[in-house]
């Protein structure tokens, strides 16, 4: 008498422990917030140095991407992300990590088919659908503005 797939699915859901929702949400809020605060700090500092809002924004993005890539290269970003979850995934640092980590991982397969091809294996869909969505959004604005 084996269970049906539907019955077994229920058994398996019952047997599986749940994610620690509140702990994960709390950590994501704190670490994500911290990254954004660091970003705001860099932005304010560059403006204090005399850069415009736009120039300062570019410097902030570059600095956060650099920090994320550096921490990824030093094997530290994933240790932080394990606890932070969406907190390290959603900001621009998560995007940088998703490009640097496959680049590191697949360097053994060579610069073209390894680093070159695999670098976008996680970030690629984000770029594709991000750009597609912005084109669609632009069209809607152009038509109805």
């Amino acid at each position: 008498m084996s269970p049906t797939p539907r019955e077994y699915n229920k058994m398996s859901e019952k047997a599986a422990p749940n994610s620690k929702l509140w702990k994960n949400v709390g950590m994501a809020f704190l670490v994500g917030g911290l990254i954004c605060t660091i970003g705001q700090g860099i932005l304010s500092w560059t403006q204090w140095l005399g850069l415009s809002q736009e120039e300062g924004g570019a410097v902030t993005s570059i600095a956060l991407i650099f920090l994320s890539a550096l921490l990824t290269g030093l094997n530290r970003y994933d240790d932080l992300a394990k606890h932070a979850g969406a907190g390290t995934l959603v900001p621009i640092t998560g995007f940088a990590n998703s490009m640097v980590s496959p680049a590191l991982e697949f360097k053994r397969e060579g610069l073209i088919l390894g680093v070159g091809a695999k670098m976008f294996s996680i970030a690629g869909p984000v770029i594709l659908y991000g750009i597609s969505a912005s084109v669609l959004y632009g069209l809607i604005i152009a038509l109805f503005h």
Binding site: S2, P3, T4, Y8, A16, S98, L104, I122
Partner: protein, 343 residues
Amino acid sequence: MAVKTGNYTYLLENTPSVLSFGAVGSKKESEGPLGQYFDVINPDSTFGENSWEKAESKMVQISVEKALSKGHFEPEQIDMAFAGDLLNQCIGSVYGLRDLGIPFVGLYGACSTMAESLALAALFVDTAIAKRALAVTSSHFCSAERQFRFPLEYGGQRPPTSQWTVTGSGACVVGESDTAPYVRAVTIGCIEDLGIKDANNMGAAMAPAAAKTIARYLADTRTRPEDYDLILTGDLGQVGSALLEQLLEQEKIHLQGRHQDCGLLIYDRQQQDVHAGGSGCGCAASVLCSFILPKIRKGTLGDVLFVATGALMSPTSSMQGESIPGVAHLVHLSSSRRRKGVE
């Protein structure tokens, strides 16, 4: 000569022995409860190589060398090698055995490969096709992650049902001898699929296969769990182990504390952050070859049903939304040639 009993089980009348065995692990395995039992521990998980795949092949090579040297065998004395691993086209085994010149049968049974290879080696020896046969499997956390999941440095969170691929390898030489452990019977499992699609919950995907194989073996041999000291599954982990016991309860088979799982033995789940436990071909292989076989040899364990379980999906089938089929093969290992009270 092996004889079929029931529908799925072969009794090995000549009871081949596991003559010698070797187990290799790395840092995380050495920090677990079984660390002291491994033959070789290399805290450097690259094993001195420049790719994770080569590191895995190196482990295969080391575990085979260890199994051969412990039994004072030369590669020429082995008639057949049964080997497999998780990597595409089983390259862990292929490159690990490349230089040994042993006739090679490559197997893919995912994490069930240790039971599969041991069963075939024992059948070959029992039927006198081979005088000595080798069974070896391996897995490496880093090579498995890059093939099945994400790059190592990618910042993601693992769900609580996920398991940690063991970096390890185990090898057994099977032949005729008067020393335990003996292989008394084997059951080759069927592919079972109850529709689990979550690749982060392999324990649940494999539990039905383990339950079916155990139930079939017990029915074929007309025995009960009480006739065995230990029923050892490969890598069901915490979730799969719970489900196995529930599935067998439904079949009126009560394991009554005789069940253990290699994935739960090899790591300390509380301390080592492995979520639902260990997994991978190397999990069942290294636990068997480091911790279980010596106990059977000494006689502290009498009769053991070794049931390694495999999730037979690929990254392609997962991406295409297919469910995960499981398989489980069973090997009855014993410290004596005859069942207690039967001569």
